[in-house]
Amino acid sequence: MLRFIVRRMVGMVLVLFVVSILVFLIFNVIPNSPPAQRLAGKNATPVLVKSIEEEWGFDDSLPQQYVTMMKKVFTGELISYSPRTSVESRIKEGIPATLSLSIGAGIIWLFFGLVLGYFSAIRAGGALDKFLTGLAIAGISIPVFLIAPVLIYFLTYKLEIFPNAGYVPISEDPWQWLTHLILPWFTVAILSIGFYSRVLRSNMLDVMNEDYVRTARAKGLSERKVMTRHVLRNSLIPIITLFGLDFGATVAGTAIITEVLFNIEGVGFYAAESIEKLELPPIMGVTLYGAFFVVFINALVDIAYAYLDPRVRLGTAAQ
């Protein structure tokens, strides 16, 4: 196990390095204009551009520029220039909102996905099955930016069931926090419920053919015990992996758009605001931190998987 962890961690560090190089290329090398000009933002004065050029050392060699950039990112000195604000502190302010959204949505889609998947597996071929297939196809086809406006318009504006968009910190008022987040949670979750239930269903149908299930039945366990203790448990392992991966992808993907649609001032909202103002330093920061987070989660998922399923440790799961 330890060997596996070490190997996986080395792999992770390599990927992080590649990610940082990619971000460096995207922001400082690939585009076809002076980098200081781009970082300065739309209405920058020549003085500001000049000072950024010196600050970031754009006259240096590329490796030197890379080191300068990384130093800025990791010491929290990344600054957006108009007006001067620390990118790191803005990102930190946004994290609670982003995590509230993503974790809540994750719990909802996991819960409904598992419950629906379980029941459709024990009655395979039934009406629920067909409904879930439809939901899964719809889930990958409905854009978030269609669900959210429809929900907001009808449930918030017309029927006034839910409060107007925004985010209330849980420390301020837990009830308001909850009611403000219900719609965003379901907006994100609904896309995945169908998919998760399908995956659980097919896992369970596979596991049901295993010998140990037959043994469990043969030794006289009740059908419910067989299903929950043996079939469900073993079908959950791949789901856990999938969930970890999707959770990372949600934080660094769907959550951005959802935050914008519901005016939740999280990290994604900050990124979108910066896109509108064409300010690059915040986008650079969010991309790097977001990618690091995702890569880290992926490594954790692999380790958890190896812990739950010892067969993985011997295989090539580290790749």
Binding site: I26, R38, I137, S141, P149, F195, I256, V294
Partner: protein, 363 residues
């Protein structure tokens, strides 16, 4: 279910039907492609959505007709200060408070059929049609680029194996494990600000080739990885060995022998990839990192319309419904194609959903 002789296939094509599709069969009327076509036609849902997809194409292609003959305006033309005669009454296109006019349907002879888009007073219907052109163009072209690049990479990696495979497969793995939306935003914005220069080719910051470029890069792994796997498996087959024994060169084996056997996979993934890319484009454009103003795409229209959600909900909802219909029809047609071309395929929905679901995740 190793080989699954479809009853209808046996009836139509005799014993050949059990063999996997080979492109040489195109000429023969009862070839595997004909059988696949028969199977597809039988799938009513897929056919209905294929028709819907064609209707959407016709709709967006008709944009100049509608713009010139009915709406008498262009997609980026502002009408803020103009008045509109509707059934004898006079309305302002945009009220002094900045509220655009709502849908007029045919009240003004087709002008402002869906109302105006914002305080800029542009014709929403015209923008919807031209925006659809942009969205579909980006989806299809980036789908083509992605597919071609993915097939070449998959062939090289799966055929040569060794260090070629190591490099390509590792690169694809890393690309796959990145949060694509974030990287799409990063690349989209920094190119929108700076533009791009590849050798003699210069792309301006506002060009739609920038989102095409961005989307193509980040979706390659979704096709290249399965293709590579399939090439690895095909490389072990006797017909490849036979071709090599007859003295065929690497290129000949890759493109002449293996590639035709990938045809059904490529077709299916191409359809699904367009759907995926259109969602990606919409997300980028919605956030301002894709299609740049004043050009419209369905994604930018939602982001403009969303600001007026309480008064003019249709402005945000209609482009969203267009995206949904297009993406849904491509997904269902892709699924139908998979069933028709490869009836033995076990992984259908799961594999396809994985394309979208696992964005930004590694395996």
């Amino acid at each position: 279910m190793a080989i699954d002789p479809q009853p209808e296939a046996l009836a139509a094509g005799g014993p050949d039907a059990a063999f996997p599709p080979a492109p040489e069969g195109v000429s023969g009327e009862r070839g595997p492609w004909y059988l696949a076509y028969k199977r597809f036609i039988r799938n009513r849902l897929a056919v209905a959505f294929l028709i819907l997809f064609f209707l959407i194409i016709v709709f967006v292609l008709a944009a100049p007709l509608w713009a010139n003959n009915v709406a008498h305006t262009g997609p980026n033309q502002s009408h803020t200060l103009e008045k509109l005669h509707v059934n004898g009454e006079v309305h302002e296109v945009v009220t002094p408070e900045g509220r655009p006019i709502g849908p007029q349907w045919f009240g003004a002879g087709g002008k402002f059929f869906l109302g105006a888009d914002s305080r800029l007073g542009r014709d929403e219907m015209v923008r919807l049609m031209y925006g659809g052109r942009t969205s579909l163009f980006i989806g299809v072209v980036s789908g083509l680029i992605t597919t071609i690049a993915a097939v070449i990479l998959g062939l090289l990696a799966g055929y040569y194996k060794g260090w070629v495979d190591a490099i390509i497969a590792r690169t694809l793995d890393i690309l796959w494990s990145l949060p694509v939306l974030l990287f799409g935003i990063a690349l989209g914005v920094s190119l929108a600000v700076g533009g791009l220069k590849i050798g003699p080719l210069t792309i301006e910051g506002g060009s739609i080739w920038i989102p095409i470029f961005v989307i193509s890069i980040f979706t390659v792994p979704y096709i290249a990885r399965p293709i590579r796997g399939e090439v690895l498996a095909l490389g072990e087959k006797e017909f490849v060995e036979a071709a090599i024994a007859q003295g065929a060169g690497s290129l000949r084996v890759m493109f002449g022998e293996i590639l035709p056997n990938l045809a059904s996979t490529i077709i299916v993934f191409f359809a699904l990839n367009i759907a995926n890319n259109m969602l990606f484009e919409a997300a980028l454009s919605f956030l301002g990192a894709g299609v740049q103003p004043p050009n419209s795409s369905w994604g930018t229209m939602i982001s403009i319309g969303e600001e007026l959600l309480t008064t003019q909900p249709l402005l945000a909802i209609i482009p969203g419904v267009m995206i949904l219909m297009t993406v849904l029809s491509l997904n269902i047609v892709g699924d139908g194609l998979r069933d028709a071309l490869d009836p033995r395929s076990k992984v259908r929905l799961e594999a396809r959903a994985g394309m979208v679901e696992r964005e930004g995740a590694s395996v």
